[in-house]
C-alpha cells in the first residue's frame, strides 16, 4: 500500500469528506492559500472555493461561536484552530455553547463540529505553543476527545469525526505530523471509541496517548531485547474511552504504565489509572505508574525543554522498575 504522512492523511480525509458531503466546510485563520498554520488545508480552497473554505479574522470566540451556529443550521464545520493553546481563548464557546447545545436542544438540533488542534511539543515551541490540554476537555460532558497517533488512524478517525453529530476536539500531536505510514486511498472510518493494541505483550501494558505511542513502541522494542514483553495500547479516543480493551490488557499483564505529553497532575493518565484501580484492582501486581510532562510550563530553551518532555528513557526506567 502507498505510504503518506500524518499531515497528508489529514488533508486527504478533509478533501474526501468535502467531496462526499456539501455541508462540510472549513473555517479558520489563514486556511486559504496559506493552508492554515498546520499547512493541512493547502490547495483545498482551489477545489472548493471561498464559500466552503472560510478564512476568519483572528477572533477565536467569534468564529467558534459562528461555527456552532452554522452547525445548528445543518453544516458540518471543520475548525482549524491552529495550536491547541489557542483553544483557551475560545474556551467559553467550546465548553458552554458547543458542548451543551445538544442537551439544550433535547437532541433535536445537533452540533456536528470538529475542532482541530495542533498539540504537544515541537522543538522550542514554548509555553503557549506546546500544550496538550486534552484533560480539560475530557472533563466536559458533551464533548468527544480524539487523539490519533498514526497516519492510518488520523485519516479514519478524522473521517469518523466529520461524520459524527457531536462536537469533537481533534488533537493532532505535532510530533506525529512527519510520520509516514500505509494509508488506503479510499475513504474509510475508524469508529470513535475504539482503542488499538499497537503491540502485543504479556508482562506490562503501556497505555500511550498521541505522540507517546511511537516512543512507547520504541521502548517496547528495547525491552523485548531484555526479555520484557510489553503490550502497547493506543486509546486513540480519550472520550469516550475504550475501557474494555484497556482493562482487558492490564488484567492480562498485571502491570500498567500510562504516558502522555501533558503534565501528570490532573492529566488524562489520572482518569485511566483510577478506572484501572477500580476495574483491574485484583489483577494488579504492581502500582500503576504515570509518565507525563513535568509540572511546569514548557520552557523554550532546547536543553530545558528536553528535561520537561517525557521521553523513551522515562518509559524504560519506569517499566524496568516495575518488573
Amino acid at each position: 500500500m502507498r505510504e503518506i504522512s500524518y499531515k497528508e492523511a489529514i488533508t486527504e480525509a478533509m478533501v474526501q469528506e468535502m467531496r462526499r458531503d456539501p455541508k462540510v466546510i472549513i473555517m479558520g485563520e489563514d486556511v486559504g492559500d496559506f493552508g492554515g498554520l498546520t499547512e493541512t488545508t493547502i490547495g483545498i480552497i482551489d477545489e472548493f472555493g471561498d464559500q466552503r473554505v472560510l478564512e476568519t479574522p483572528i477572533s477565536e470566540c467569534g468564529f467558534v461561536g459562528a461555527a456552532v451556529g452554522a452547525a445548528l443550521a445543518g453544516y458540518r464545520p471543520i475548525l482549524e484552530l491552529g495550536l491547541a493553546d489557542v483553544s483557551f481563548v475560545a474556551m467559553d464557546q467550546i465548553v458552554n455553547t458547543a458542548a451543551k447545545m445538544n442537551y439544550f436542544n433535547d437532541g433535536e438540533a445537533t452540533v456536528s463540529l470538529v475542532i482541530r488542534v495542533w498539540s504537544g511539543f515541537r522543538r522550542s515551541g514554548g509555553p503557549q505553543q506546546s500544550q496538550s490540554n486534552e484533560a480539560m476537555f475530557n472533563h466536559v460532558p458533551g464533548l468527544k476527545v480524539v487523539m490519533p497517533s498514526t497516519p492510518y488512524d488520523v485519516k479514519g478517525l478524522l473521517t469518523a469525526s466529520i461524520r459524527d453529530n457531536n462536537p469533537i476536539i481533534f488533537f493532532e500531536p505535532k510530533a506525529s505530523y512527519p510520520r509516514e505510514g500505509e494509508v488506503p486511498e479510499d475513504e474509510y472510518v475508524i469508529p470513535i471509541g475504539e482503542a488499538d493494541v499497537k503491540r502485543e505483550g504479556t508482562d506490562v501494558t503501556i497505555i500511550a496517548l498521541g505522540a507517546m505511542v511511537h516512543l512507547a513502541l520504541e521502548a517496547a522494542e528495547k525491552l523485548a531485547r531484555d526479555g520484557v514483553s510489553a503490550e502497547v495500547v493506543d486509546p486513540r479516543t480519550i472520550r469516550p474511552l475504550d475501557v474494555q480493551t484497556i482493562v482487558a490488557s492490564v488484567r492480562k499483564t498485571g502491570r500498567a504504565v500510562i504516558t502522555h505529553e501533558a503534565n501528570v497532575i490532573g492529566g488524562v493518565g489520572g482518569e485511566i489509572a483510577a478506572i484501572l484501580a477500580d476495574q483491574a484492582f485484583t489483577s494488579l501486581k504492581a502500582p500503576i505508574k504515570r509518565i507525563g510532562g513535568e509540572e511546569t510550563p514548557i520552557p523554550v530553551s532546547p536543553s530545558l525543554e528536553s528535561t520537561v518532555v517525557p521521553g523513551e528513557d522515562d518509559i524504560l526506567d519506569v517499566v524496568q522498575a516495575l518488573i
Binding site: P127, N263, I265, G270, A274, D278, A286, L322
Partner: protein, 333 residues
C-alpha cells in the same frame, strides 16, 4: 468566638487584608454598591473607596488581564468572578498569562492575584451557573487551588491567599455562603497546602473538599451508628496537595473513597486515586472508589439537579460497598 456565615467571614478577611496593605484591592462585577452577588464585598466601597473596590463592566478577559497587569507592577488584587462557569471567557488570561508569568520570566515576575470564584450546584441555577471546574485549574502548573468548606477556613485561607505571591484560584461553594459557624476574630490565617481531618476513623478514609465535606460528615455520622468508623479528610487545598495527610490516613484505614461534586471523568478525584495507587499501593485492601457527579451538564429543574448531585446520596452506598468487601492483590513484586 463569634458565629458568622461564610460570606461574612470572607467579607471580614477582605477588610483585614485591605486595612493591612494598601496594595490590596478588590475588583469584579457588581462588587461595589451592590456588595457582590453573594454579599461578600458589602460595605467595602464605603470603607476603601472606588479605586480599591472596583466595579467593572462585563468584560471578564479584561478584568482578569488587568488584575494580572496590576499584580505585575506590585498590587495584590482580589478578583471576584461571580460564577466559575464564566472562566471560559477569560481562560487564556488565567492559564497562559497569570499562571505562567513567574516561570517565563525566570522567576523575576510575580502575580500575587486571588481569583475568587463561586462554584457548585444546588440552587437551580442551571447549566451556566452551577459547574465545578476545579480540575481544570489543578492541571495548570503555576496556580494554587483552594476550596474551603467552613467559614473559619474561608477567612483563614483567603488571608493566606492574599499573602501568597502566586495566583490562587479560590473556590467558594454557593450553597455554603449562608453556612454559619464559629470564626476566630482578627487576623486568622490558615496555611495553604494543609488538609484537615474533620473526623477520625479506622475503617476507611473519605477524601473530600468544599460542599462534599458536609456530605461526608453526615454519612460518617450515619455509618458510625452501624459501627463503621469513617475518617473524613477535608483537603481545603487541592494544589499544593497535602499528600502526607492522605497517605498516612490510607495506610491506617487501607480503604479510600474520594467524593467531589464535579463530574466524574477527569475530575480531581481521579488524580487522588491514582496518586494513592501509585504511592500507597501496598496498603490498599480494596479498590478505591470515586463518588462524583454523573457526566452531564447541570440540569435546571430541582428534581433533575438532584440527579447531578448524586454523590450526596451515593456516598453511604460506597461506604457499605467498601467495608463489605476484602480483596487481596497478587503481590508478586
Amino acid at each position: 468566638m463569634p458565629e458568622m456565615t461564610m460570606a461574612q467571614a470572607l467579607n471580614e478577611a477582605h477588610r483585614i487584608a485591605m486595612q493591612a496593605d494598601s496594595r490590596v484591592f478588590a475588583i469584579g462585577e457588581d462588587i461595589g454598591d451592590y456588595g457582590g452577588i453573594y454579599r461578600v464585598t458589602v460595605g467595602l466601597l464605603d470603607e476603601f473607596g472606588k479605586d480599591r473596590v472596583r466595579d467593572t463592566p462585563i468584560s471578564e478577559a479584561a478584568i482578569v488581564g488587568s488584575s494580572v497587569g496590576a499584580a505585575l507592577v506590585g498590587c495584590r488584587p482580589i478578583l471576584e468572578i461571580g460564577f466559575v462557569d464564566f472562566v471560559g471567557t477569560c481562560w487564556d488570561q488565567i492559564i497562559n498569562q497569570a499562571a505562567k508569568y513567574r516561570y517565563l520570566s525566570g522567576g523575576k515576575a510575580s502575580v500575587p492575584l486571588v481569583m475568587r470564584m463561586a462554584c457548585g450546584a444546588g440552587l437551580g441555577y442551571g447549566v451556566h451557573h452551577s459547574q465545578s471546574l476545579e480540575a481544570w485549574f489543578t492541571h495548570t502548573p503555576g496556580i494554587k487551588v483552594v476550596m474551603p468548606a467552613f467559614p473559619d477556613d474561608a477567612k483563614g485561607l483567603l488571608l493566606a491567599a492574599v499573602d501568597d505571591d502566586d495566583p490562587v484560584a479560590f473556590f467558594e461553594h454557593k450553597f455554603l455562603y449562608t453556612y454559619k459557624d464559629a470564626v476566630p476574630e482578627g487576623r486568622h490565617v490558615v496555611p495553604i497546602g494543609k488538609g484537615k481531618i474533620r473526623r477520625e476513623g479506622r475503617d476507611l478514609t473519605i477524601v473530600c473538599w468544599s460542599r462534599a465535606v458536609h456530605w461526608a460528615l453526615d454519612v460518617a455520622e450515619k455509618a458510625a451508628t452501624e459501627g463503621i468508623e469513617c475518617e473524613v479528610i477535608d483537603l481545603r487545598t487541592l494544589v499544593p496537595l497535602d499528600e502526607d495527610l492522605i497517605h498516612n490516613s490510607v495506610s491506617r484505614t487501607n480503604r479510600l473513597i474520594v467524593c467531589h461534586e464535579a463530574c466524574r471523568t477527569s475530575g480531581f478525584g481521579a488524580e487522588i486515586v491514582s496518586r494513592v495507587v501509585e504511592t500507597s499501593f501496598d496498603f490498599l485492601e480494596a479498590p478505591p472508589i470515586r463518588v462524583a457527579a454523573p457526566d452531564i451538564p447541570v440540569p435546571n429543574s430541582i428534581p433533575l439537579e438532584k440527579v447531578y448531585l448524586r454523590p450526596e446520596s451515593e456516598l453511604l452506598d460506597a461506604v457499605h460497598k467498601l467495608t463489605g468487601v476484602r480483596f487481596h492483590k497478587l503481590k508478586q513484586h
